[in-house]
Amino acid sequence: MKLTSLATILALVLPTIAVAEELNILNTGSETGSLAQETIALTQDFTALGYTVNFENPGNHCLAIERAKKISEPLIMPWASDYEAGGRAGTDCVTYEFKAENVIRYNRTSLQLCTVNSNVDDFNTKSGLIGITPAWPIQERAVGVINKHFNTEHRAIQYNGSGDLKTALFNGEVSYAILSPKHAANVVEIGGHCFYSLGNALPNMPSLPELVNNEDSRYLYLGWDIVFLALHMTAEQFEIVRKQFADIHNNPTSAMYTYTAGNTLLETDWAVTGDQAVEKFEQSVDALK
C-alpha cells in the first residue's frame, strides 16, 4: 500500500513540480533559531498548497538582506524591528525599507528570561552570565538596565542563535538566557523555567519592565515587532498569498499552527492593516534604538 502511495505521489509530484507556482521563502534569522523554524514551517505549508518553494537560509540577517536584494521572483521574508533599530543606530549591519502594501503579517514577540540551574532570587541578587542572541547591542543595553536596577553585575555573552544559546544554558556555560517564547517553551519542557517576561506580564510570569518601572524600563521591552513581507507579486498574487498565510495559521494540521502551538506562542494581529503595521513597526524601532 505504501509503495503504491509512494509511486502515486511521485507520479503526481514530479509533473506538478514542473508547473507549480514558484515561491521563495527567505529566513532572515540565524540558521537554526526561531525565524528559521518559522520559515521552515511556512515552507512546508506552502509546499503542501502546491507551490514550488525555494527556501533560503543564509544564516544571519546581514547576509539575508543581501540575498533578498538579488531575488526578483515572488518572495516571502520576515523582518524584525530590533534588526532595523540596530541598523539605524549604526550598531548593526543593515536596514531594510519596505512598503505597507507588502506587509502580509504583523506580530509582536516578547522575550523571556529563563534558567535551568538557577532561580529568580539569585538573578535579582547575584551576578551571573546572561546569554543573548542578535541583535546583541539592544540586549546588552537591557542587561545594563537590569544591573542598574538590581545592583548586580550580570554579563551578557553573545551567541549566534537560540540553538547555541540553549545548549550553553543546558550545559551551564551561562546561568540565564533571553529567549523567544518558542525556545522558552522548549527550555521549560527540558526542566528549566522562565521567570520574567520582557514585555507584558504573562500568567505566572511578571513583566520585568513593569517591575523596574523607571525611565530606563523602555529598554527592557525586549522582543521585536515582525512583519512578514510578500515581495515581487502582482496585487492578485498578493491577496491570494495573504489569505493562504492567514489560513495556514488557523489550520490545525499546518506546520505553522504546530510551531505556534495553536497561535498561543505568537501574538498575531490579523486586523492590523499594512499602514498600521508600518506605524507599529516604526514605534518599535524608535523604542529600541
Binding site: L63, E66, Q158, E173, I190
Partner: protein, 441 residues
C-alpha cells in the same frame, strides 16, 4: 519498535543518501528540500529512519566519485580526493574504495556502541560545547595541521592563515563588520566554499598538471580482494581511533562530520609519517572516511537528547517531526535513539555493498574511459554554473572558481588541504575564541 522501521522508509533514506552523496554540492539539506513533499507523508519514527539512513549512505557514496574521478561529493570527501584518488592513479583504486567502505561501515558500529555507552552520561558529553573546550580543540587542530601537512611548517602556517583569511571574506557577525568586501555585495556574502574547494583541490587533481600535460586516467587497477582486505584489517587500529575523533567532532555545530573527516585525516598524517606511502595513504583514507560516518551519527545526539539541531538539515527534520505533533523530549530519547541506531546499522551495511562491490564495476568502466578528465572538469564547471544560478550569482561563482583553479594550479605541488580546512573552520574558530574572550576576560 521494529514494526515502525518499515522497509520502505529505510529504502527511501538510502535513495536520498545516494542522491545526496553522488551529486556534488547537494548535501542533505538540499536533498531533503527537493524531496520535501515525499517526506511530509511519513511519521516521526520513519522520518528519523530516513534521515539517519540518508546521512549515513551519503558519506559512503560521496567517497566513490572522490576516489574514482577526483570530484568530492561533499566537503567531507576532500581527503578522499587527495589520498583516494592518488591511490587510484597508482592503480590501487580497489584498495581505496574498500578502505572507504569498510572504514565507514565499521565506524558506524563504533558510533552506535559509543552512544549507548555514553547515553546515561550525555549531560557530561555536552560539556564539549563549552567555549574553552571548542577553542582548545581548534587550537590542537591548528598545531597538528601545521606540523604534519605535506609542506614545511612555515608553508603550512601560511596556508592556514590564508585559508582563514579566505573564510573571513564577507560580513562577519562576530566582528559586526565586513572584511575585504570592498563594498561589493557579492563579497559581502563571503566566498562560496564548495566552489573554492572544487577549484583549489578537485580540478588540479583531475588534470594532473605536473608538466603542463594532461594525462589520461587510464590506469590498470590492482584488484586482489583478499590482499586488499588483509591490508585493511592490518590497519584496523586506525578505524578505532578515528571513530573516537569522528564521534567527538560530530558535535561541532555547523560542521559535524566535515570537521571530523578533516581532523582525523591530519591526525593520521601525524601518526603515519614514516610508513610506506601506500600504507600511509590507506590509513589517511581509513581515518577520514571512518570519522565522517561516525560523525554523521553522533551529530544527531544534541537533537535527540536536547531537541537542539546543530545543522540545517536537522532543523528541517525537527520541523517535520513537530508538524506531526511530536517533539524531542526526555520521553522520546529511548525510542528515537533505538530507531536511529538500528536504521544506521542497516543503512551502513547497504552503503558498504553500494560503495564496494558496485564501485569495482565502475572501476572496470573507468579503465576504458580515456577522456574522463575532460568529462570530470566539464561536470565540475556545470556544477559551478548551477550553484551560481541558484544563488543568483553565476558570474561571481565563475570568477571565484577560476581564481581558485589558478591558485590550485599555482600550488600544484603543495598540500593545499590546510587552505581548505581553515576556510571551512574559520567561522567556528572565530566564534569559539571570541566567546572565550567574553566569558573569561
Amino acid at each position: 519498535m521494529l514494526e515502525s522501521i518499515a522497509f520502505q522508509s529505510i529504502l527511501v533514506g538510502i535513495l536520498l543518501g545516494v542522491f545526496s552523496g553522488l551529486i556534488p554540492g547537494a548535501g542533505n539539506l538540499t536533498t531533503m528540500l527537493l524531496f520535501f513533499p515525499l517526506l511530509l507523508t511519513y511519521d516521526p519514527i520513519q522520518l528519523i529512519v530516513i534521515y539517519t539512513c540518508m546521512a549515513s549512505v551519503s558519506q559512503f557514496v560521496g567517497s566513490v566519485p572522490a576516489v574514482l574521478v577526483g570530484i568530492p561529493g561533499e566537503s567531507s570527501s576532500v581527503p578522499a580526493v587527495i589520498e583516494g584518488h592518488r591511490m587510484y592513479k597508482d592503480g590501487n583504486g580497489p584498495l581505496a574504495i574498500m578502505g572507504c567502505a569498510i572504514g565507514s561501515w565499521a565506524g558506524t558500529f563504533f558510533a552506535v556502541g559509543f552512544t549507548f555507552l555514553l547515553a546515561a552520561h550525555m549531560h557530561v558529553v555536552f560539556q564539549f560545547y563549552y567555549a574553552w573546550v571548542q577553542a582548545l580543540v581548534f587550537l590542537l587542530v591548528t598545531v597538528v595541521v601545521i606540523l604534519v601537512s605535506g609542506n614545511k611548517p612555515i608553508v603550512n602556517f601560511s596556508f592556514t592563515v590564508f585559508g582563514f583569511l579566505l573564510g573571513m571574506i564577507g560580513y562577519n557577525i562576530q566582528l559586526q563588520s565586513g572584511f575585504l568586501t570592498f563594498g561589493n555585495s557579492w563579497l559581502y556574502a563571503g566566498l562560496p566554499e564548495f566552489v573554492v574547494i572544487l577549484g583549489i583541490i578537485a580540478v588540479p587533481e583531475i588534470l594532473q598538471i605536473n608538466k603542463l600535460v594532461v594525462k589520461s586516467q587510464h590506469v590498470k587497477q590492482k584488484n586482489n580482494t583478499a590482499v586488499n582486505l588483509a591490508l585493511v584489517y592490518k590497519n584496523k587500529l586506525t578505524i578505532v581511533w578515528s571513530s573516537v575523533v569522528g564521534y567527538i567532532a560530530g558535535f561541532i555545530p555547523g560542521l559535524t562530520f566535515i570537521a571530523g573527516s578533516n581532523i582525523a585525516y591530519y591526525i593520521s598524517k601525524l601518526l603515519n609519517r614514516n610508513k610506506d606511502p601506500k600504507i600511509a595513504q590507506l590509513n589517511h583514507l581509513l581515518a577520514a572516511e571512518t570519522s565522517n560516518n561516525v560523525g554523521a551519527f553522533s551529530q544527531l545526539m544534541p537533537l535527540i537528547f536536547l531537541g537542539i539541531p546543530i545543522i540545517g538539515s536537522e532543523a528541517l527534520l525537527l520541523s517535520l517531526i513537530e508538524l506531526k505533533g511530536y517533539t524531542f523530549s526526555v520521553d522520546t530519547i529511548g525510542v528515537y535513539l533505538s530507531v536511529a541506531a538500528v536504521s544506521v546499522l542497516i543503512a551502513s551495511t547497504v552503503g558498504l555493498l553500494l560503495s564496494w562491490p558496485l564501485s569495482n564495476q565502475l572501476v572496470k568502466i573507468y579503465n576504458y574511459t580515456k577522456y574522463l578528465p575532460y568529462v570530470a572538469v566539464f561536470w565540475i564547471i556545470a556544477i559551478v554554473l548551477y550553484l551560481g544560478y541558484q544563488d543568483y550569482s553565476m558570474l561571481y561563482y565563475v570568477i571565484v572558481f577560476l581564481l581558485s583553479v589558478a591558485i590550485g594550479l599555482l600550488l600544484k605541488n603543495k598540500d593545499k588541504i590546510p587552505i581548505v580546512l581553515f576556510l571551512l573552520l574559520q567561522d567556528n574558530i572565530l566564534e569559539s575564541f571570541y566567546r572565550v574572550y567574553q566569558l573569561y576576560f
